[in-house]
């Protein structure tokens, strides 16, 4: 399972597996889910299928890593799905219609993510808009711009970039690689860098952070800009998988991303959250969807089952935590 490579980086000082479990209740839920699905479906526990799950988790996970930054500061970013779509459309458009070389297009596309994030942050930090409203506005604006630029039609991705959706060698899907890299980056930023630590302080008590000399507004700019870049990367990975940038791509993914972060143990009131938790949260969602497909659960019942399992997964965590207290 790909997850085994990340934890070491993320938990830092604490040593063994027991510590993760104690801190990451979601992991317990994931394990239960995996065991249950292995018993229910003989197709589940194959290497190909698990890699599929990884690929299918990738976009949500990358979006969710970005959302983790924002949620740790006590904010929320509803615009990640739209920004992902806009970035991908911009990439495809600059590389095809505008005829720029693809590396330039990639840079422009990432810049679009940054700009969207900065606009969010400016509205929040200087305009004092609630993050919900600022990013809801951006959700509409970015999606609208994606439609305007693409005139509502998908644009083919440049071939060079589309390889991001391929598989390295026989097995290793690049989206999984990208997800792992972004996860490690998120973990390092959160745990080790000044902006990361400032995010926790701001989310824990903004006033105390400010009185301790943290430039809260500037840190918010960094936070939302990071979320924007992560969204752009997610958008590029998504479009590469489809070999085409779709103006309607990733619609509604913001809820999935936020759910992954919260399932992973973060609190929407801020100050809490870890990259590893988010990763596990995204895997839970992907495993769940994959499992329901493998088990041929009827489409109408799927939503019910997903709802129930999400609730149960987090319930496992909170009850376990209550047990130790």
């Amino acid at each position: 399972m790909p997850s085994s490579t990340v934890p070491n980086k993320l938990t830092g000082r604490r040593s063994p597996a027991a510590a993760w479990f104690a801190e990451n209740g979601a992991l317990a839920a994931l394990v239960v889910l995996v065991v249950a699905l292995s018993l229910l479906s003989s197709d589940f526990l194959s290497v190909t299928n698990l890699l599929n799950v990884g690929v299918q988790a990738a976009v949500t996970a990358i979006l969710a890593f970005g959302a983790t930054f924002v949620i740790v500061t006590g904010g929320i970013d509803l615009s990640v799905g739209s920004v992902a779509a806009l970035s991908a459309i911009v990439l495809a458009w600059t590389a095809t219609s505008a005829g720029l070389p693809w590396p330039v297009a990639v840079v422009v596309s990432l810049a679009v993510g940054v700009v969207c994030g900065l606009v969010n942050a400016a509205l929040i930090a200087y305009g004092k808009l609630p993050p919900f409203i600022a990013t809801l506005a951006m959700l509409g604006i970015a999606r609208g711009l994606a439609l305007v630029i693409s005139q509502g039609s998908p644009i083919a991705m440049p071939d060079a970039v589309s390889h991001l959706g391929d598989t390295l060698g026989d097995y290793l899907p690049i989206p999984v690689l990208v997800m792992l890299v972004m996860g490690v980056i998120a973990a390092v930023v959160l745990n080790r860098t000044y902006p990361g630590r400032a995010m926790y302080a701001i989310g824990g008590n903004e006033e105390a952070a400010r009185l301790s000399g943290i430039k809260v507004n500037r840190q918010k700019l960094i936070t939302y800009a990071l979320s924007g870049v992560f969204a752009a990367v997610a958008g590029i990975v998504l479009a590469s998988r489809l070999a085409s940038a779709q103006p309607q791509a990733a619609a509604g993914y913001e809820l999935d991303a936020i759910a992954a972060v919260v399932i992973g143990g973060a609190s929407l009131s801020g100050g809490k959250g870890r990259a590893l938790g988010t990763f596990v949260g995204a895997l839970i969602l992907a495993v769940l969807r994959n499992g329901l497909n493998l088990l041929s659960v009827s489409a109408f019942w799927q939503q019910v089952v997903i709802g129930v399992v999400i609730a149960l997964a987090v319930l496992v965590d909170t009850l376990r935590r209550r047990g130790t207290n």
Partner: protein, 508 residues
């Protein structure tokens, strides 16, 4: 006295025996007994983290004990929730405020039991009742003000009024005087005596030893989660200290004056409409300047404005010759200012983060190389300060939320000690800190000034201001009304100035 206690349960309104409470990693209470008679003021004394607040939280239904018994009127009781305590006639003023900031004073006073008419909340009656209660505690606040607009001291008075509203038989007060000035304390004591005479039993927690003889009848001393003894309230202070800390403390205010150097902080003509006006003073290297005044005199506001936490309309702040940009905390810090705010929960601490994290907050920027924070180094520095201040904790990983009040305060001070600020502004620095630790902090202040730093100390604890300052500034109604040398000044001198009837920006 002891004999008296033995003859019969009926004499005791409330009795706790062998209470135990365990938190992950800490035994907060390890066999605590407490007996409370009708019409007595029973003082709980103990160092920070001794378990006082935990004990009263069990009595008020906020925590369930892991062992032991509580009985009321000789009947064993099981207090599961705040409502149960209320029904038993137990009212509690908690150490940390339990007010809803967004709601008005009147709503907070009626929280959980608003007066109703035809099933609907009767706001008129609620405000009338609130007015009456506020008058009773002698605080002049409009019942329609949101609590978030009140300063700490007024919040405390509202808390007191809220507890009085319950007409309880047992009133528990966890450090109610920590944030009050002499005037309010006097008012509070009048109320307490009156209640006691009406037969109400009062449990009173304080770290101000002089208050014990003044108001108390008996004292139960807690040490490390155990009740070690029960003594009459007129026991000499030295003896109380010995019982509590386990060793005597020679000198309560060990101020060692140092030679004054250049003026590090110059404030001139500082003003904000309706809050303070024309505030001018300076603080020199090696100096401790005390700021005294009544509650609402505007000391906190001036301190915050100087530090850049709030804006001001007029005047300027100069640190080491550099004029500071108004409203810029970061610039103030760069210039070498530090502020220990009075509201530790709201402004001082990230409650959900651990001790190490909080202690490192101010120095995080300095500990950053190429964007990466040297967390190991931060931790080492934190460990040192925690050791120096004697912070009682399970480890640097303990969440600050779960520290005792006094230990939380030590963390707030500690983070600025790590930062080594040139001019440290302390707003009620020893609020809720036990006598032993206070001396430690005073010694730190001495060490700071000895090494050429300067301290501006706002305190409502007059003995502290007198004992630890070199000069004392007195504020009233948003103005500086006078300056006194510490030597030879008495509490009465300060109070006389503090109540001067100046024309100030503030109403009353």
């Amino acid at each position: 006295m002891r004999a008296e206690r033995d003859h019969g349960v009926s004499a005791e309104i409330l009795k706790a025996e062998g209470l135990r409470k365990v938190f992950p990693g800490v035994v907060a209470l390890d066999g605590v007994d407490l007996s409370l008679r009708p019409g007595e003021v029973h003082v709980l004394l103990g160092e920070n983290g001794a378990g006082k607040s935990t004990l009263i939280k069990i009595l008020s239904g906020a925590y369930r004990p892991d062992g032991g018994r509580v009985s009321v009127d000789g009947q064993p009781v099981d207090i599961r929730a705040a409502g149960d305590a209320q029904r038993l006639g137990i009212a509690t003023i908690y150490q940390e405020f339990n007010l809803v900031p967004q709601l008005t004073v009147a709503e907070n006073l009626a929280l959980g039991r608003p007066p109703r008419r035809f099933g609907l909340v009767d706001k008129k009656r609620m405000e009338r009742q609130a007015k009456a209660l506020l008058d009773r505690v002698g605080v002049d606040v409009d019942p329609a003000t949101p609590v978030s607009r009140l300063g700490i001291a007024r919040m405390q008075m509202v808390e007191i009024a809220k507890a009085l509203a319950l007409d309880a038989r047992v009133l528990i007060m966890d450090e109610p005087t920590a944030v009050l000035t002499t005037g309010e304390v006097a008012k509070l004591f009048t109320i307490v005596r009156q209640l006691r005479d009406e037969g109400v039993s009062i449990v009173f927690i304080t770290h101000h030893l002089e208050e014990i003889a003044e108001i108390g009848d008996r004292v139960t001393v807690l040490r490390d989660g155990r009740s070690v003894t029960e003594v009459p309230a007129d026991t000499p202070q030295d003896e109380l200290v010995r019982l509590m800390v386990g060793r005597p403390i020679d000198q309560q205010f060990p101020r060692q004056t140092t030679e004054r150097g250049e003026a590090l902080l110059k404030v001139s003509g500082l003003g904000r409409r309706g809050v303070f006006d024309d505030v001018t003073f300076e603080v020199r290297a090696g100096e401790v300047v005390g700021v005294a005044g009544l509650v609402g005199a505007g000391r906190t506001e001036v301190a915050r404005a100087v530090f850049g936490a709030d804006r001001y309309d007029a005047g300027e702040v100069v640190v080491r010759g550099n004029r500071l940009a108004p409203g810029d905390v970061h610039a103030a810090m760069e210039a070498g200012l530090g502020l220990v705010p009075e509201d530790r929960k709201g402004q001082g601490l990230v409650l959900g983060a651990d001790v190490a994290e909080n202690l490192g907050l101010v120095t995080m920027r300095a500990a950053t190389r190429a964007g990466f924070v040297d967390r190991a180094g931060q931790r080492r520095a934190a460990a040192k300060v925690a050791e120096q201040l004697g912070i009682r904790m399970t480890g640097l990983d303990q969440e600050v939320r779960t520290l005792s009040g006094g230990n939380q305060q030590k963390v707030v001070i500690g983070k600025w000690l790590v930062a080594d600020a040139g001019v440290l502004i302390l707003d009620e620095p020893t609020r809720g800190i036990d006598v032993g630790a206070k001396v430690e902090i005073y010694q730190l202040i001495n060490a700071l000034t000895a090494s050429g730093h300067a301290v501006l100390m706002i305190s409502s604890d007059l003995p502290e201001v007198l004992g630890m300052s070199d000069r004392i500034l007195v504020m009233a109604r948003g103005r500086l009304v006078g300056e006194l040398p510490a030597a030879g000044t008495t509490q009465d001198d300060v109070m006389a100035l503090a109540v001067t009837d100046v024309e100030g920006p503030r109403a009353k």
